[in-house]
């Protein structure tokens, strides 16, 4: 999944003949002022960040006159919303609201079908509306093979109490939104609020569009949009970007994912996906303090192992290394051993005072064992379990740093 920024999502809706407020994206307060004058007051200023709950974060402002617009825009540009710095804001015409509605299309992973959710109330979280007023929410599943039957749109809004021109308009809009969802391989397309203006026109005032990263290859229109990944809860750190670069150097051989934590003192170099989760839990339970999370697997070449290991150790405060994987059938342990020992050597790490625990079993592990042991590193293969390896790591930290358990207190 990747979230498309709001103004790009709105442009896509516009192409599908869904009405959006007149607006433009700007990069500084001066541009915001010019745009506001061109659009006419009142205007809405919205921080363009790939995160939800912007209203609650104070990242959406209603501005009534030219005197306020520069000041408010400046405030937004100085903000961080969910850790994302604001680099662009959307200046939009304020729409006179008669009524706020809700409409979304998503993939229901339990029913395994696209689901249309509509409500005669909007502007707040749909979960909240659904809890307080379940009768005002309609949920309809659509066959993944079929296009959207237009009568379904009429049915949905008719059940919600709409009539006449607005009913026909809402039904047509639902069909268009569904077509957009399908055409662009969306995983979520949410309009909240969908505003009924004073003159009974439906306008998509706020749009969230998440697209499927696995389908970007068949979405030429989305290729230039650079969707923001939803993998992180904040922008990538410098070290994380560096690790992405190491992974991309040889993208088809092995994967290496790295997420930095605040604090921590054990470099965590583990994999694959499931084992990393287990090892992280086990290490924390044993009293260890991981400095990062990682998933390394799929038989990476030596240089990737080397680069990743160096990166993990280079983080400030890292005083030990935990290298462990589930028993693998494809990752070559001798290659891992060469990459890791080279990184340790290159960083001038003295393994007699820098705890390293290895639990690597799999292809060519006899040779791997030899390489580790020649470098003075204690090697374990399938003589111990993953849980035991995590315990051993924490024990070694305490052994080398007798006050290890007190570090966390200050």
């Amino acid at each position: 999944m990747a979230r498309v920024l709001e103004h790009d999502g709105k442009e896509i809706l516009k192409k599908h003949e869904i009405q959006i407020p007149h607006g433009t994206a700007v990069f500084n307060p001066d541009e915001a002022k010019q745009a506001a004058v061109r659009i006419g007051f009142p205007v809405i200023l919205k921080a363009l960040v790939p995160a939800g709950k912007r209203g609650k974060a104070g990242a959406i402002k209603l501005v009534h006159n030219i005197y306020e617009v520069y000041k408010e825009a400046e405030k937004l540009f100085n903000m961080e919303v969910s850790h994302f710095p604001v680099e662009q804001i959307l200046v939009e015409q304020g729409v006179a609201i008669k009524k706020e509605l809700y409409l979304s299309i998503a993939i229901d992973k339990i029913e395994r079908k696209p689901v249309v959710i509509a409500s005669s109330e909007g502007g707040v979280d749909i979960e909240e509306i659904s809890r307080k007023n379940p009768g005002k929410v309609k949920k309809v599943h659509i066959d993944p093979w079929s296009s959207f039957p237009s009568y379904k749109g009429v049915e949905i809004w008719s059940d919600l109490g709409f009539k006449g021109k607005v009913l026909r308009q809402a039904a047509a809009l639902t069909t268009r939104l569904f077509n957009t969802f399908k055409k662009h391989d969306a995983t979520l397309l949410e309009v909240n609020p969908l505003v009924m203006s004073e003159d009974d026109v439906l306008v998509a005032v706020d749009v969230v569009l998440s697209v499927d990263e696995s389908a970007i290859y068949r979405q030429p229109e989305l290729k230039n949009i650079h969707p923001a990944s939803e993998r992180a809860w904040r922008p990538l750190t410098e070290l994380e970007r560096h690790m992405v670069a190491i992974n991309e150097e040889d993208p088809y051989r092995g994967t290496a994912r790295y997420t930095e934590f605040d604090g921590g003192d054990i470099g965590f170099m583990c994999g694959g996906g499931g084992a990393s989760l287990l090892l992280m839990d086990a290490l924390i339970k044993s009293g260890g303090r991981p400095a990062n999370y990682s998933e390394v697997g799929g038989n990476p070449p030596e240089n990737k192992v080397y680069g990743l290991c160096k990166g993990i150790i280079s983080k400030e405060g890292v005083r030990g290394l935990f290298l462990a994987h589930n028993i693998t059938s494809n990752t070559q342990i001798n290659v891992v051993a060469r990459g890791v020992t080279r990184a340790l050597h290159n960083m001038d790490i003295n393994v007699s005072v820098f705890p390293v625990v290895v639990r690597e079993a799999g292809t060519h592990d006899a040779e791997g064992k030899k390489i580790f042991e020649e470098a003075g590193i204690e090697y374990h293969g399938d003589d111990i379990t993953l849980t035991q390896a995590a315990q051993l790591m924490a024990d070694k930290m305490r052994q080398v740093y007798p006050d290890y358990d007190q570090w966390g207190d200050n």
């Binding site: 694959g272 059938s329 292809t363 399938d382």
Partner: protein
């Protein structure tokens, strides 16, 4: 006895001429019952490791009796490959390919359901039944016995690596596996843990099931309901990994794509609570699997 794959599996590999698929063809041939045929459009008449290659599934089915397919084609071609297999009456389809567009996966699962076809995956490493000496997929690599020995424990895991490690834990406890299933790391998959329980329930060889779980999805909650309703009566041993993710901000994906926590759905702590309440053996540490198995099976 075993589930999903056994001596009666007549396997065809879709995309057999690819690098990885040819390698897996050899691994499967070395381990057990033969791979009967392969499909790669435009490569008909060739052979891979002695296995004949056909242009179409229809042609392969005209020449052989086939019932199981292993899908190794690129992401953009998986939907078509599955439809071709379904139309030719293949009853079990294992999809190895990952990163398939979700809209395609919805169609794959819908078509499988409507035609009563069992899909395992996408993103599955394979299924193995050691007592039948039969596997489909790369599971076990070239050293299958290291982790997978015959026995009476069923293993289910989203993570391919943990399918191996969990089966190895079963061996370490002094037992073996009836069938180990790598169900795939995505949220949209053909064989959820719950959908495999009736098979293990009916399999006489299986005396207990170990389920390795991760954050995200409602798979474990569904399993808990299924056990609580009395549909699965054999011991189920569960370990849920990823507790640390509960202390991180929402929307963070660790491990597999499905391991995303949204609100309260899919939290490891609530999964454990639900499974415990339903009567499952819930492990505090992964090593407790050994203790539970020794208590249950001895």
């Amino acid at each position: 006895m075993a589930i999903l794959v056994d001596n009666n599996s007549k396997t065809v590999i879709q995309g057999i001429t690819g690098r990885e698929a040819s390698m897996v063809t050899k691994l499967m041939l070395d381990y057990g019952p033969p791979v009967v045929a392969g499909i790669t459009p435009g490569r008909g008449g060739q052979s891979v490791e002695g296995v004949p290659v056909y242009d179409t599934m229809k042609e392969a089915c005209n020449n052989h009796n086939l019932n199981t397919s292993l899908v190794y084609v690129p992401p953009a071609a998986v939907l078509e490959a599955v439809l071709e297999a379904v139309e030719n009456k293949i009853h079990t389809i294992l999809i190895v390919t990952e990163n398939i567009p979700q809209h395609d996966v919805l169609k794959i699962l819908d078509s499988a359901k409507n035609n009563n076809v069992r899909v395992v995956g996408p993103n599955s490493v394979g299924v193995i039944s050691p007592s039948e000496h039969c596997k489909i997929g790369a599971i076990g690599g070239d050293n299958t016995e290291r982790c997978f020995v015959p026995g009476s424990v069923g293993v289910i895991s989203r993570s391919g690596g943990m399918t191996a490690e969990t089966s190895w834990m079963v061996k370490r406890a002094g037992f073996g596996v009836s069938t180990s299933v790598s169900i795939g790391g995505d949220a949209l998959i053909g064989s959820t843990p719950k959908s495999l329980l009736p098979l293990f329930q009916n399999d006489q060889e299986t005396k207990a099931v170990v389920l390795f779980s991760e954050p995200g999805t409602s798979f474990e909650e569904d399993v808990a309901d299924y056990i609580a309703a009395g549909h699965f009566t054999k011991p189920l041993i569960s370990y849920v990994a990823g507790h640390f993710t509960e202390d991180l901000p929402e929307g963070t994906v660790f491990g597999h794509a499905a391991a995303m926590i949204e609100g309260n759905v899919g939290r490891p702590s609530s999964k454990r609570k639900r499974l415990l309440k339903a009567g499952a053996y819930v492990c505090e540490n992964f090593d407790d699997i050994i203790k539970h198995l020794q208590k249950i099976l001895r």
